[in-house]
């Protein structure tokens, strides 16, 4: 293309000091999720920027952060805004994952209107890279949802909305909808499950792409040291270290099930 341009212009364009508008970062449409399998399934290869994504969960604190922490890790310039988080974020753990908790804003609303309004303002302001809202109330109306999405587009933010699983069959204008299910409790078949800590993700909808993909990502990443969690659960009392006589263990009363030997901990 440059051959057809007059010589001086072509030379100018090739000069390294000339800044050209198309190199701006404004052309990105998504942020990588940090989970290669999920990136693969999403046609934008990441979380849609300037749009709403809905995560449907059986209950709050049900694995959403296992999915989201790589995204939060990327937010180093702008803020992360949590609206009505179900519990307090435990900042030392977040810091350990590399999330900047100095730019973490917690907002607690009292009414559904306040929740919607706060989400919208946080998105509109453009000061927040990611706004995560836990929907504690009834399903958000279609119109409000569109407003939120528009606000996310205006503020170039990522809006993540976490809703109860029951809403999965209701239509929603969100650009991306994912159903999150922690895999069947391994305690039911304690010794059959090979890899118990998995989160199953089903793509319910993605704007401009096919849905229906199902994939698994590791659950509780970075929160549990791998060698400390036992695949075989301890269903009964255990040997507590005795603070007074370090050599002896204390056995709490009435053991109902035999204590599995501590050597069953994997990684040894």
């Amino acid at each position: 293309m440059n051959e057809s341009l007059p010589d001086p212009i072509a030379r100018l364009l090739q000069h390294p000091l000339v800044w050209q508008g198309r190199h701006t970062p404004g052309h990105q449409h998504s942020r990588p999720t940090g989970h290669p399998a999920l990136d693969e399934a999403l046609h934008l290869h990441g979380w849609p920027l300037g749009a709403s994504s809905e995560l449907l969960l059986p209950h709050p604190c049900g694995g959403e952060l296992s999915l989201l922490w790589p995204l939060l890790q990327q937010c180093q310039e702008r803020w992360i805004c949590l609206i009505d988080p179900p519990q307090l974020p435990f900042a030392p753990a977040w810091e350990r994952l590399g999330i900047n908790t100095r730019q973490l804003l917690l907002v607690h609303s009292r009414t559904p209107q306040e929740q919607l309004w706060s989400s919208r303002q946080a998105l509109l302001s453009g000061a927040c890279e990611v706004v995560i809202g836990w929907n504690r109330y009834h399903q958000i109306h279609n119109r409000d949802q569109r407003q939120l999405q528009q606000a996310a587009a205006d503020g170039q933010s990522i809006h993540i909305q976490i809703s109860p699983q029951q809403h999965q069959h209701n239509p929603s204008p969100c650009a991306l909808r994912l159903l999150l299910q922690p895999l069947a409790q391994p305690s039911l078949q304690p010794f059959l499950q090979q890899d118990p800590h998995q989160l199953q993700i089903t793509v319910l909808k993605q704007r401009g792409g096919w849905s229906g993909q199902t994939l698994q990502i590791p659950l509780h990443h970075g929160q549990l040291p791998s060698h400390q969690t036992a695949s075989a659960p301890r269903s009964g009392p255990f040997a507590l270290p005795n603070p007074w006589h370090p050599g002896q263990a204390i056995h709490p009363a009435t053991p109902t099930v035999a204590i599995p030997p501590s050597s069953s901990v994997p990684g040894h």
């Binding site: 607690h108 303002q121 927040c128 400390q228 269903s235």
Partner: protein
């Protein structure tokens, strides 16, 4: 006596002959008078048409009227007049830094000399900036008219000359093409009756009747007299007055200094209990604040609204900003949110806006290409202000890391917007740490009594032996809802869920 000394000063005298009437809330059609010491002092045209005159006592005036109820009597409020005049001086400050309220009565002794209200503006140094005298006068006039003030104005080479010339000419606004010189002004002054000098100097009571006795009635006659003899016969007061008129002796002016504390007040014509109507006065007051801030290159960090209700009670609403502002629109929005969050109890009769938290603006550099960075580094502060105004300060928080042993003390909830230090200590990866922490540990049954299933080895935390000694064993545990962080309190034997892995 020489008057040929070229005077470079140019004074503009703004007169407000009906100032007390101007300050009353507008009620078209009804006659209004301002009363001082039981005498009518200022009358609106309707009142004059009814046959009332200044100087009439209130009792007589009411007797004269067919419908005494229709007459609105207002007591004179000197403080309000002074304050409002300072407000006009504030407007004029846009055009010249040399503005003074004139005459300056320090002790109230001379109050009656010049009853009407004047501002004196020295504009010779602003002519170039405003592209000449006609343009300056035109802009000043329009500026004042926008704010509802229509003063009479006159030019002079000294404050006294400007005032005297205003008395002589009836033109409400000077129409000079070029700035007249001192000589022009002195010529215009010649024809002035001597009586006009009466209010200009406190000693005029002594020398004016004696001058008139010897047959001097015009200013011209007085100027022709030899100066020394005048001084000997009539005292230095006369000479001082003459010199101040001619500009050879500068008249000391106490220049108006814009206050570094913003305050403005609006009296509403009727009580408002429809809050959307309240936006109009609030917006105009905030615009006044914006102008005030821009004139001084200031930003404000917070402001205070005071609302006076119909039952004479008052309520206050504070607005704190996390980032200094000097623009009307966000301030109005925040005020509206603040009022939504905490509505006013009763109808409002008058409003006051004050701000003392003023700071000099820090000049910022903006990036040349907007898309390269401006939008990425947008400040959180406007958002915090908005959320705080609607939800309240306590609904927003941030987490501050602390060096402590017990998990609940390892972080502290602080007000959003608090600057947080960078923490360099990270906990070792070998510890299980949940991403969610319960603000209150939730008691559960022991694992062998149907509680969560333990998955990990215990982690012993001991602390606070100086208060209530805490000794806890932490475990990773599972129940149907997922993985939890549970602990057993070694003293009570009670089990608690303290956090959730997510």
């Amino acid at each position: 006596m020489s008057h040929s000394r070229p005077s470079r000063q140019l004074w503009l005298c703004l007169r407000f002959p009906h100032w007390p009437l101007d300050l009353l809330p507008a009620t078209p059609g009804q006659p209004r008078v301002v009363v001082e010491q039981q005498q009518l002092r200022w009358l609106c045209p309707q009142a004059l048409a009814l046959g009332l005159e200044p100087g009439l006592s209130v009792g007589n005036a009411l007797l004269l009227l067919e419908d005494p109820q229709a007459l609105q009597l207002h007591r004179r409020d000197r403080e309000l007049e002074q304050k409002a005049l300072q407000g006009v001086a504030q407007l004029c400050y846009d055009f010249t830094p040399h503005v003074s309220l004139w005459p300056q009565h320090r002790d109230g002794r001379d109050n009656d000399l010049l009853e009407c209200h004047q501002l004196q503006l020295e504009i010779s140094r602003s002519l170039k900036l405003f592209h000449g005298l006609p343009s300056l006068l035109q802009q000043l006039r329009e500026h004042l008219q926008q704010h509802g003030f229509t003063p009479l104005a006159s030019l002079g080479h000294s404050p006294k000359a400007a005032w005297l010339l205003g008395q002589e000419h009836d033109a409400p606004w000077p129409t000079a093409e070029t700035a007249p010189t001192g000589d022009n002004f002195m010529q215009q002054l010649q024809g002035l009756p001597l009586q006009a000098l009466a209010p200009l100097h406190p000693t005029a009571r002594q020398w004016l009747p004696r001058l008139q006795q010897v047959g001097m009635h015009t200013f011209q006659q007085l100027l022709q007299q030899p100066r020394r003899e005048l001084g000997q016969r009539y005292g230095t007061g006369l000479l001082q007055c003459l010199d101040e008129i001619s500009g050879t002796r500068p008249e000391p002016q106490l220049e108006f200094q814009p206050p570094l504390r913003f305050s403005c007040q609006r009296q509403l014509n009727f009580a408002i209990d429809n809050w959307s109507l309240l936006n109009y006065p609030m917006e105009s007051m905030l615009e006044e604040l914006q102008q005030f801030l821009r004139q001084r290159q200031l930003h404000c960090n917070g402001l205070q609204w005071r609302f006076l209700h119909t039952d004479r009670s008052s309520s206050e609403r504070q607005l704190q900003l996390s980032e200094p502002l000097n623009i009307t629109a966000p301030l109005l929005r925040l005020t509206q949110l603040r009022l939504e969050q905490q509505p006013l109890p009763r109808a409002v009769e008058s409003l006051m806006l004050e701000s003392e938290q003023l700071h000099y603006s820090a000049l910022l550099n903006h990036s040349l290409f907007r898309e390269l960075g401006a939008s990425r580094n947008r400040s959180i502060n406007p958002l915090l202000d908005l959320l705080r105004a609607r939800l309240g300060r306590e609904q927003l928080s941030q987490l501050r890391l602390q060096d402590e042993h017990l998990p609940e003390y390892q972080q502290q909830l602080v007000d959003a917007g608090t600057p947080l230090p960078v923490s360099h200590h990270t906990l070792p990866a070998s510890l299980p740490l949940p991403l969610w922490l319960r603000s209150q540990p939730h008691p559960v049954a022991a694992p062998w009594r149907g509680g969560p299933t333990l998955l990990s080895d215990p982690l012993r935390l001991e602390s606070h032996w100086w208060q209530t000694h805490q000794q806890r064993d932490y475990f990773v545990a599972r129940d149907p809802r997922g993985l939890h962080w549970v602990y057993c309190d070694r003293h009570s034997g009670q089990w608690f869920i303290h956090g959730h892995f997510s």
